[in-house]
Structures are given as C-alpha cells and as structure tokens.
Amino acid sequence: RNNLNVFRSALALLQHHDAVTGTAKQLVTFDYTKRLSMGWDDGEIVLNNALSKLSDNKFNATICKLCRLMNESICESTSRMSSFAVIVFNPDSHPKSSVIRIPYYRLAAEVTDFTGKLLDSQLSKTPFTSLIKIDASPYQLSVPVQIPALGYTTIYVNGSGEVYSKNRGKQRNSWKTLKPENNE
C-alpha cells in the first residue's frame, strides 16, 4: 500500500483546480506531468510485484508494462515483441463489450482469447502518420473484448512481418528524460 504513495500524491496534486483547468504556468504543467509519470512508475512496480506473487515468483522482473503513449499511437511493448499478451482490465462496475485498439508495428496478426479461440480482429493503418511522431505505429490492431464488471480478460497476439525499423531515430519525450535540478 505504501508503494503507491507517490502515485496517490501525484493524483491528489492533479485535482488542484489550476491543474484541471490548465491555468498554470508551462513549467508547473511539466512538473505535474513528471510527477504523474513517476507515479505510474510505482504503479507498474506494484503490478509486477503482485504478478510475481500470484505466479509463485516465476515472474521476477518488470515484464508487465503499460503503454503510456497509446494516445500518440506509440507502444514500446508491441514494437519490441512480435508475440505478446494483453491483459484488459475493466474498471467499470458493468460488464463491458468493447473494441480495444492497440498500436501495432507488423503486417499481420493472429489474435486469440484466453481459451485459444480465434478472435475477429482488424488491422487498420494509423491515420495522420505524417503528423505524429516518428516512432508511432504504422498500424492499429482492433480487437473485440468482453470483460466482466471490475474484471479482466487476456488476449494473445501472434504477429508476423517486421514493419517498424528499429534503426530509425526516435524522438524522446522531454518529460521522460527531464532530470530535476535537485532531488528536493
């Protein structure tokens, strides 16, 4: 519980009315972003610790990742891995029938649910690729999911055809590389 204090503090800070409305200086807004990012770091650690315990310590590394730049069609996890699993959590108190969209970097995908049943997925080109970052995914993979209330489901993606070139220069987000002037 204590490991989430940084996350809690960041979220509490972001409820400030000047954070919500954007009536703050640019540097302050960057600071909010940095603090939220640090909170997410802790959240991922807690998630992976839980996973490690649930699996009797068979997973002891940080392998479960969020993709924080999905709104920019960027996902480091799906760009690195040709095959991966996605745990889809439903935070709603109602069952959800939805279509999730994943940034995707390969030419083809076979998607199955946790029983091994093939799912009817759809691969689409990412629109506006000329307007977004160089490491944005060229495709988006849409997958239908049925998730119980406050529950989760797991889907498996097996990809083929390398599309994304790892040798392309990457733009790095400044809020990831920003180092504080001091540790205060």
Partner: protein
C-alpha cells in the same frame, strides 16, 4: 463528386460531395436527422492594437460573435471498412483532422479529432480557439442541457441567466457552460446528445446546434495571475497537439437518458491495457 453513404449494422452516415457529414440515421430505430459537423475557430482578443481584456487561460473573449470557417471548399475523405469498425478519415488542413468511427453493434458515432499545432503568425500573432460544431434541425427553442460534473443535467437558456440580469455584452462566452461529460439539445421528439472524453466548454448558439471548444492557443496574458499566455507546447517546442473523442447519438427524447447514462460510464471507464511478452512459460501466464 457526389454524396456518399456509409453504413454499419446500426448507423448510416451521409456525406455531401465536399466531404462534410450531412445526415445520420439509426438503422435500428429508424430515427434520422440532417447532421452537419464542421470545425471552426474564434479569434481571441489580445493582438495589437487591442489593449483591453485579452482572451487567455482564464478568459474566453472572441473578437466576433460568429466563428470563422477553417477551410472553405472540400476536405479530404478516406474510408476504410473492416469487420469490427469502419474508419472515415477526414483531413481539413495540415493541423486539423478527424476519424469518424462506426463500431459494429454500437448505436453511437465516434468522432476522434486531432488538432494542432495551432498556427502562430510571425508578427502580431492572433489567438485562435477551435470548436467542433454539430448542426441539426432539432427545434430546441433556445434551450440546451449540460451535465453538472457528470451528475444531473442542467437546463440552459440562451441569452438568459436565472441569477443575474443578463446583459448581451459577450454573446458567445456568456452562453458557454462547462461540459464535463455530455451536452444535448432536444425538441418534443428528437434529441442529439454528444458525450465528451474530457471537460470542454460548450454551448448551443443556434437552435439544434451544439458546439464544443476542443483546443485553443492564446498569445497574450489575460491578467488573471498566470503571467504567461496560454501557449502550451510539448517536447517539440511547437504548439500542443490535442486529440480526443466525442460520442454522438440521435434518439427519441424518452430513451435518450437511459442511453447516455450508461454510455457516459463507458466513456469514463475505458479498458486499461497492460502488455506481457509471450514466453515459454505461457502456460503459467494462462
């Protein structure tokens, strides 16, 4: 060259020959209405020779009551159809584009807009405040409804205030209200509802019309304490690119509440995704 009809199993959209949305029909209920969607912008006060109250972080003060169209003429339209979703890409300009999505089995239309960086003139830049506007022929009679922080809906009347003597000095911004989750207009039969994925300013300046402010870039401090113009930038040092979603549906007035009450929760509580490598111990993962 001609109007284009695009349909899913639930929704039919009609686009005119310039690429603009023209009409919507719910194929399940048979409800249909003319519907035009467009992007426009207000110029904000502040640029020389203006010396009064500038539009900025706290203040919305357009120079004129009518927003300006972004681009006359045709827009680029591209359609991609698949088994799960139909994607309709519209490109208005190098800095405004949108994907309209029709999901299989869903009776709403998703508008995923992307705006920015908003252009900045070299000399004497002009503040720009971008809106998306949905226009129908619903006889809303000067009233519209916005949510009260996601809870009950508040009835709004154009050019009127219940708590003070309304003065028509700011005909646009005085009619703007916070839209935290949804806004709608209705008459005795039809209702047009738009759900937002974030808080936006919204209004209905003409009957049957909904407008929502989705992005803005101001170049002058408004004097309310920030001491900076609202000229937010990202890591590329250019103006911010903002992207978000609207879910729109048409219904009869009696059924609308039951639809938007559950839909708002769907919008708020989006699925959360985490990614795992598939390793040889995938049996353990399962």
């Amino acid at each position: 060259m001609k109007s284009t009809k695009i349909s899913s199993d639930c929704i039919e959209l009609l686009f005119d020959r310039h690429g603009y949305l023209k009409a919507i029909k719910n194929l399940k209920t048979g409800i249909q209405t003319p519907l035009r969607q467009e992007f426009l912008y207000y110029e904000g006060t502040g640029s020389w020779p203006f010396t009064g109250q500038a539009s900025g972080a706290y203040i919305f003060r357009p120079t004129e009551a009518n927003p300006k169209p972004l681009k006359p003429g045709s827009i680029f339209l591209q359609v991609e159809k698949g088994p799960l979703v139909i994607n309709i890409l519209q490109v208005y300009s190098p800095w405004i584009s949108q994907v309209i999505r029709l999901y299989k089995g869903k009776e709403y239309v998703e508008f995923e807009w992307m705006v920015g960086p908003i252009p900045k003139e070299q000399n004497n830049p002009i503040t720009k405040e971008i809106i998306t506007r949905y226009s129908t022929n619903i006889a809303s009679n000067g009233t519209f409804y916005t949510d009260s922080n996601g809870r009950q809906m508040m009835k709004r009347r154009r050019d009127y205030s219940a708590s003070y003597i309304y003065m028509d000095t700011e005909p646009v911004s005085a009619n703007y209200y916070p839209v935290n989750s949804r806004i709608f207009v209705k008459d005795s039969e039809l209702q047009l509802t738009v759900l937002t994925d974030r808080s936006e300013g919204g209004t209905s300046l003409n009957d049957g019309q909904i407008e929502l402010m989705i992005h803005r870039r101001a170049f002058y401090d408004d004097g309310y304490g920030v001491e900076e113009p609202l000229d937010e930038y990202g890591d590329n040092k250019q103006g911010l690119i903002a992207s978000g979603k609207h879910w729109l549906f048409v219904s009869n007035t009696k059924q609308a509440a039951s639809i938007h009450r559950s839909l708002a929760f769907e919008m708020l509580y989006q699925p959360i995704l985490t990614f795992f490598p598939i390793i040889k111990q995938d049996e353990i993962l399962k």
